[in-house]
């Protein structure tokens, strides 16, 4: 009986969840993590224009965070044009704002590059070393992909 009730609850809440997870170890404020992840989902096309986001209460229950944090995150996403509140219905992804997606995709990659450069500096690699290594890794990766494709073709025969 106990377990039945739980499963039922989960099934009900699952219909409007969104793929966001909170990490408390890296010092980023929770509302900022939500903002970044929603932007990421929009930039990568996993959330499409016109799609509805979960209501504040639902997302707060899902993430186990204070509802005011969701209010703050949605508010910021609304100001930056990612989300749109429609009166009396809910919160939706804004209609196509391609330049925003471009900016956000760039931001995600730049963040990774900054971390890479900091790490490289610690290990005494220059930016030029890194550029060369990126090309080498890419070439090796492409080769692997080509080989795998070749193997698949052979198997298919």
């Amino acid at each position: 009986m106990y377990h039945c009730t739980r499963t039922l609850q989960l099934a009900q809440s699952e219909e409007s969840t969104v793929d966001i997870s909170i990490n408390l170890t890296d010092g980023v404020p929770i509302y900022r993590q939500i903002v970044n992840q929603v932007k990421y989902l929009v930039a990568s096309g996993l959330l499409r224009p016109g799609e509805e986001l979960p209501p504040i209460r639902t997302l707060a229950l899902q993430l186990k965070v204070t509802p005011n944090t969701i209010v703050k995150a949605y508010g910021e996403l609304e100001i930056s044009g990612v989300l749109q509140k429609r009166h009396g219905s809910g919160t939706f992804v804004s209609d196509a704002r391609p330049q925003l997606a471009v900016r956000e995709r760039r931001r995600v990659i730049e963040q990774r590059i900054d971390a890479l450069l900091a790490e490289a500096h610690q290990l005494n690699y220059t930016a030029d070393d890194i550029l060369r290594m990126v090309r080498e890794r890419k070439a090796a990766m492409d080769e692997n992909v080509a080989e795998a494709a070749e193997e698949n073709k052979e198997k298919g025969r």
Partner: protein, 301 residues
């Protein structure tokens, strides 16, 4: 201005010759969640008991909904829900009796909500309080605390000793109180990840004093954690300006610091080191820095 729900100013209290509360001020406004953290004996429970009128303010003042909870217990307690750390409930009552008994005290009792929670928690109404497990006792205590939809919900160490499932029930109740009704919640907890998730404001108590209080995001912004590398080996932690907590050894140290980041960086440079990485500190790191090992440094500051 936001509606003030709780106003405590300059509250002091001694038990014997021990200062339980020392010049504590605390304010809570409507619709917000307040997390109270601090080691055992820091004064959290004593502060909460003053809000409920269970203790009389020896010096300073306590106002809840603008009322003195000792002089006007009816006006205050009718609008407050309380889950005590010991979960004191009448042992001899059955759960359904406990519900009827509590309902009799509250005009605003929401029977449908109480029933829904009973079902969600799968509590047997015929069971006696004294036969409940620790988790069930907390769930029963929670229903009694929230079913009259109080304007102020006070939870003292609600998660203490509970498994993950019941802890989730408690957090859900907090979320619902705020999201559905715009209520105010004050809870104390030693689980810092829970406080970080659930609080809009955080208050850190240490030895009867409030050592830190504010909006969580603002408090967090005032503290950084940096990784620092030095050219030379340090046997003792290096002395660095604005540093509150230093851990590590040899050439690599991890530092929690507060104040101007530039001042910290210069101080590291002056000792032949380099800041490798910096980020905002987590609540856990702030807590350790302000209430943990580096106490002498803090008091010296």
């Amino acid at each position: 201005m936001e509606q003030s729900i709780v106003d405590v100013s300059n509250l002091s209290r001694t038990f014997g010759d021990k200062a339980a509360l020392d010049d504590v001020s605390f304010r809570a406004t409507a619709g917000q969640v307040y997390g109270l953290v601090g080691s055992n004996g820091a004064g959290k429970t004593t502060l909460l008991k003053h809000l409920l009128g269970l203790l009389r303010a020896a010096s300073g003042s306590v106002r809840v909904f603008g009322l003195d909870p000792v002089r006007d217990p009816v006006g205050v307690l009718g609008r407050v829900g309380y889950l005590s750390e010991e979960r004191e409930l009448p042992e001899w009552m059955r759960i359904d009796e406990l519900m009827r008994y509590t309902q009799a005290y509250h005009q605003t009792w929401d029977a449908a909500y109480a029933r829904e929670l009973l079902e969600t928690f799968a509590l047997d109404p015929a069971k006696k309080v004294k036969d409940l497990s620790k988790g069930m006792r907390a769930q029963a205590g929670l229903i009694v605390a929230v079913a009259h939809r109080p304007a102020l919900l006070i939870l003292d160490e609600p998660s203490s000793g509970l498994d993950a499932v019941v802890r989730r029930d408690i957090l859900d109740a907090i979320v619902r109180a705020v999201a559905d009704d715009g209520r105010t919640v004050i809870f104390s907890s030693h689980l810092l990840d829970e406080v970080e998730r659930m609080s809009d404001h955080v208050t850190l108590m240490h030895q009867g004093r409030v050592t830190l209080s504010g909006a969580l995001d603002e408090v967090r912004r005032q503290y950084q954690r940096s990784r620092v590398h030095f050219a030379e080996n340090f046997v003792q932690p290096p002395v660095l300006e604005t540093a509150l907590l230093i851990e590590g050894g040899g050439r690599a140290w991890s530092v929690v610091h507060s104040g101007a980041p530039e001042k910290f960086r210069q101080s590291v440079l002056a000792r032949g080191g380099e800041v490798v990485e910096s980020r905002d500190a987590t609540l856990e790191e702030i807590f350790m820095a302000r209430a943990g090992r580096s106490r002498q440094q803090m008091e010296a500051a």
